[in-house]
Structure formats: C-alpha cells, structure tokens
Symmetry: C3
Subunit: 264 residues, 3 copies
C-alpha cells in the first residue's frame, strides 16, 4: 500500500476531478480550499432546482450533514439518489450523529441509499450503528475504539460502504480489509472542519480510483501527513489552518514517504 | 477582579463546555475556531426539527442575528425559549440592530425572552433601546458613548441582562455594577466577526460561571488582550485573524496579567 | 488611466462606502474581509423581509449566485430591482453560469434587470451570452479568449453593463472602451473566492466613482497587484489567502505603481 499512495496523490493533481459538496456552512471555505490545494475542483451547491444537474456534471459527491435542515436534507437525499443512478461515488460525513433524533432520522435515510464511503469519528460511527438498529454485541468491557471498530464492521457489512473511523489513529475498514494510519497531530482537533476536509478529499480520490478502499486510505494518509508536518511549523490552531492548505499544495514525495505511518 | 479572571480562563480549558451557536454565515468558521482555541466545544445548528434538542445538550446558547431570515428567526426564538425553560444562559448578539425594521422586530421578540447577556457595539445598543421604546433621557449634549451607556443601563434594568458595549473601550454593565476594559487594537475592526467571536466566548464563560457579570468580563478581557498581543505581530487584518486564534490557544498567565487594563 | 487609479484606491479608504452583498456561503468571510481591508464596509443580508431596506442604506450592491436557491434568487431579484429604482450601482457575479439550466434561468432574469457591471471568468461570460440567446458569430477558429471577448462585447451592447472577463489577463469592456490588466499570479486560482472578492471590490469602487469603467479597472488592478505581491511571499494557497488581505490593507503607492501592468 505504501508504494501506491504517492502515485494516487500525484494523479489527483493531473485529473482535477470535479467534486460536488453538499456540506455545512462552517467549513465550506476550508473544504473548497483543501480540494483546490490537493488538486481537485470544488462545486458547492444545494438548490433543489439544480441538485440533480450538479451531480450529473461532477465526478463524486460529498454529503455532510453538519448544518442540515429540512430543505437541505431533501437536497442531500435527492443528490445521493442521483449519484447512485449515475453510479458515481458518494461520501457520507454524518456530523453530529446521535446528537438529535432528527439527525438520526436523516442519517437512516441516507444510509439506505448506500453511501460508497462513510467517514466519521468513533462516537459518530457508534451512533450510526445505533440509529440503524444494527446489532452490536454490546461487549461491556471493551475500549471505546473496539466498540467503534465493531460498529464500523457491522456498518460495512450491512451497507457495503468503506468505513473510516478517524481519530488519533484512523482506521479504514473495507470488505475483508482493514488498515490503520497513525499520522496527524493533536492540534488538528483544535481547528474546525478537519474531518470535513478529510471527507471531501476522500470523495476526490474516490472520483479517480476504482478501488474505494485505496481511495479512502490515500485521502486520510494525505491529510494526516500534511497535518502532522504543518502542525510542527504552526504556533497554534490559527496558523495550522493555513499551513495545512500550503502543505496539501506543496508536499513532496520525500516528505510524504518519510512521514507515512501505516499499521494493520 | 484582576485576580479571578485568569483562573476562569484556565477553567474554560478544563471544562470544555458545549456551546450552541445560531449565528451568521459570515463568521461561523471563525466563531467555531475561537471557541475551540479558548477551550470550548462548538455546535452550529439551526434546523427547526432539532433546535430544542440541541439546546438540551449544550451548556450555553448564542443567538447572533447577523444573517437572519424568517426561518432562522423562528429557530432563534424557539432556542431562546428552550434555553429559558432549562435555565441555561444565552447571549444575544443583535448584529445590525437598527438597520431595518424587520431586524428591530425580531430583536424586540428576542429581548422579551430576556437574554442572560447582550453584547453589541454602541450604535447597536442604542438601536436596541429605541426598538423597545425604552425611554432615554435624550440628553443632547452628551457624547455617543454616554448615550450608549445610558441605553445599556436602561436595557439592564428593563430586561435584567448583563450588557456589554464593545468598542475601543469595552463597557460591561450589570445590576449595580459597571467595569471597563481598555484592551484591543484598532486593527481588530478591520477583521469581520471579532464581535461575534467575543459573543461566543461570552457564552462559553457564562456556561461555566454562575456570575454572569464576571463571565462577560472574562470573555471580553480574554479576546481584548489576545487581540492586542496578536495585532503587534500581524502585518495586517489577514494575519491578525489567525494570530488571534493562535493567541487564544497559547496565551500565558504572564502575558494576560501584564496586558490587562481594567478601569471603572 | 495609470495616474487616476491610485487616487481612487486612496479615496475608497476615506469614503468607506457601505456595500451590500448577497453572495455565496463559501466566500462570505473572505469577501467581507477583502472589503474591510480595502476600506469599504460590508453588509451581508438576504432576508426577503428586509432586502429592500438593506439596499436602501447601502451605496452599492453585489449579487453573486454561487450558492443560490429558490429563496435567495427571489431576494437577489428584489434587491436588484430596488437598486435600479434607487439608481444605485449593482454588480452581477454569475458564478457557475452554464452549469445548470436553473442557474441560467436565474441569470437571464438578473440580466433583464441590467446590472451596472458584470464580472466573471471567460467560460461564464460565454455561458451568459448563450443563456440569453445573444447571437455570437460562432467563429470556429478563434481561441477561447477571443470567443469570450466577442460574447462580452455583445453583452455590453445588449445590456449596457461594463463587462470584466477575469483570468490570467483581465479584460474590461465598456461602451467603446477596452482595457486589459496583466497582474495576478497563478496561485490565486488555488484559493476559492478570489473572483468573488474582485466582484465585491468592483462594487466598492462603483459606489464612489461615477465612471463605472474606471471603477471596474480600479478594483481589478487593486486585487491583481495585491495578489501578485502577496503570492511572492506566500508558501501556498493557505498563506496567500491572508497575505492578500494584509496587502489590500497596507499596499503603498510605490508598490502599486511599480507592479501595475495595463495593456490595451
């Protein structure tokens, strides 16, 4: 896996896939900039009058429910349906899963539409499993990360999606595949929208790679390595936000390979 | 007062209160980042289908009307009602008060719901007093700042809220209490959303402190001192935006105490 | 033309015109900051209940359709009508023109309201001409830039607006007038919303200058020169975003004059 990731990252810059984002207000600017810096081309649009047309011209779709409401939820569902109809990959970022019953209800509808990839943190992944009544063993003595992995594995089997649990260690789970990435830096948790950028990058790689497990690994490896390098030259979360964009734009093969930490 | 502020700032980082923001599109990213940098945890959500549930899980609420519309106004009002029902503090930031009659109408409805704290600039505070027909003496020879203080004092009495008039000097008015802060830098006025970040930080301190006057002073002192220090190392408003976030994250007790300028 | 631009730039800082922006979610923060840095004062508002009142208090209006929907489109149309009624200049930024039939339909309605200035990239300008069935010669051997200039010239004649085609070279077309600007840097294309900031600055200059051709040139020259200087001290698109704001704020006459590249 180590050897194929850098070529994928290079290919993103030459392919310039068009990525349609239905995402939250808080992170739209950063997400668009992260996609541009890494080589993709962002669209941000949500109008019900054009949502299918936008999916029609993009190469991949991101549905991020961070600031959802009744209108946007309909757009999200219609966009996901259209992506399926056109066999285009789409990534679900279930921000705040479990926080409210409304959020869980919309998530359940989106899961029924079988996202290609789901990226979320551990607590959101566990909330997804609960929201869809997927049976988990209910082992009471395991650590939270074990419970999240169990939930992710169940979600993978039920919906067929590649699942990424992001956190200090990112865990990517595909059909009979599992891999972990130990890049990143704790300062990244102090900048809003890092996960949202990761989801958008995942869609960008999914747009250019047949293998969606590899696409997810490439995206998470890229943002993890870039964030780790950027954090070292940042004096706080404000500067990290921009040094990360700079690094997504100018990372070299040497930097990427020397920092990458893949585990099982 | 000088001696209790730093412990409050420290406590914010260890308490990590969850702050629910119904705020304007322009500043959502900065506001979330300011909360994170100072130690709080932001939620941004506005859907009528979940607004009460979000208030239910937060420790304090911010209602910022900057980019209000008919849908969002209803969410704001419902959220404020729920916050009152649950006795949770909520901060009103009446952006653009006085600019349009629609804005004044919504503000009047929000004031009836008795915000815990109101933070605004002098002209907004004066517009609030007019929008609610609070009698002001109409002294015609006083400076604008005197008129704003008079308006703020009337608002404090009428609605029971702590009032903060922010500007070159920040003036905080509570029941039989008044204090001024002379920190900050003129460059801060060239960055959008500084006041909005101040309101969000006020909510964060209100979430962890019983004394809402102290909470308001702590928030305004923190952002004022951090902005002042950050401005010195900024070459313009672009860099100030990020150096402020860095400083909110890494300010030391020595820096805070040596810069703080409290007046009567 | 060279000699009148700097005085215009200076005048913006002393006039502080109020610019009303109905713009897209992605760029609201940057746009507000670009206006502030250059000396203008931004309003961002979209509620149908106050849109005419906001136009009433501003000196110029920007309509940017980037993240339009059915509600916002109505606000845009109502705002443009009100601007016309009050003889206030308004700038149309037709983001994504040609991408969907819905977008084209709204653009056609906005063009009927005769924007004072239209700023867009070459492909959007060509889409505008198509959306409004303006006959173009359909010369099949010309370069894309020639086709865009032809479309812009037709749009200028049909609707009377000053047209700016922005790109590596910015081309500004007025009634019997044409001028090009060769400032800028390729890195600017890697930051979202540069064009949107340019449109907002165009409105700012249109607010203070009777001659709307000059206003458009002043805005494009300012952002082009600032972007060019800022890119030299940026290590990527993240830092460019903030160094551009710094430079809009602190550019000197010497810097501006020595970098400005005007062509025919």
């Amino acid at each position: 896996m180590e050897n194929i990731l850098w070529p994928h990252i290079q290919r993103l810059k030459t392919s310039v896939p068009l990525i349609h984002n239905i995402t939250n207000y808080v992170v739209m600017n950063n997400t668009a900039n992260a996609l541009l810096a890494a080589g993709a081309s962002p669209i941000m649009a949500h109008a019900q009058s054009e949502i299918e047309d936008m999916v029609n011209i993009c190469q991949a779709l991101v549905v991020n429910i961070g600031t959802l409401d009744e209108y946007w939820s309909t757009s999200m569902i219609n966009a996901a349906k259209k992506a399926n109809e056109l066999s285009k990959p789409w990534v679900l970022d279930p921000v705040g899963a479990g926080a409210t019953s409304y959020r869980n209800e919309i998530i359940a509808k989106l899961l029924e539409l079988k996202p290609t990839i789901i990226r979320a943190n551990a607590s959101e992944i566990m909330a997804l499993a609960k929201a869809t009544n997927i049976a988990t063993k209910g082992v009471d003595s395991t650590a939270e990360s074990d419970e999240a992995i169990e939930a992710a594995t169940s979600l993978q089997k039920e919906f067929g999606a590649v699942i990424c649990i992001s956190g200090e260690t990112d865990i990517i789970i595909g059909k009979d595949q599992k891999l972990s990435l130990k890049n990143g830096n704790a300062l990244m948790a102090k900048v809003t929208g890092m996960g949202c950028s990761a989801s958008a990058l995942t869609a960008a790689f999914a747009a250019i790679l047949e293998n969606k497990f590899e696409a997810t690994v490439a995206a998470m490896a890229l943002i993890g390595v870039c964030g780790e390098i950027a954090a070292k030259s940042s004096s706080g979360p404000g500067s990290l936000q921009l040094t990360l964009l700079d690094k997504l734009y100018n990372i070299t093969e040497e930097e990427f390979r020397s920092h990458l930490k893949i585990g099982e």
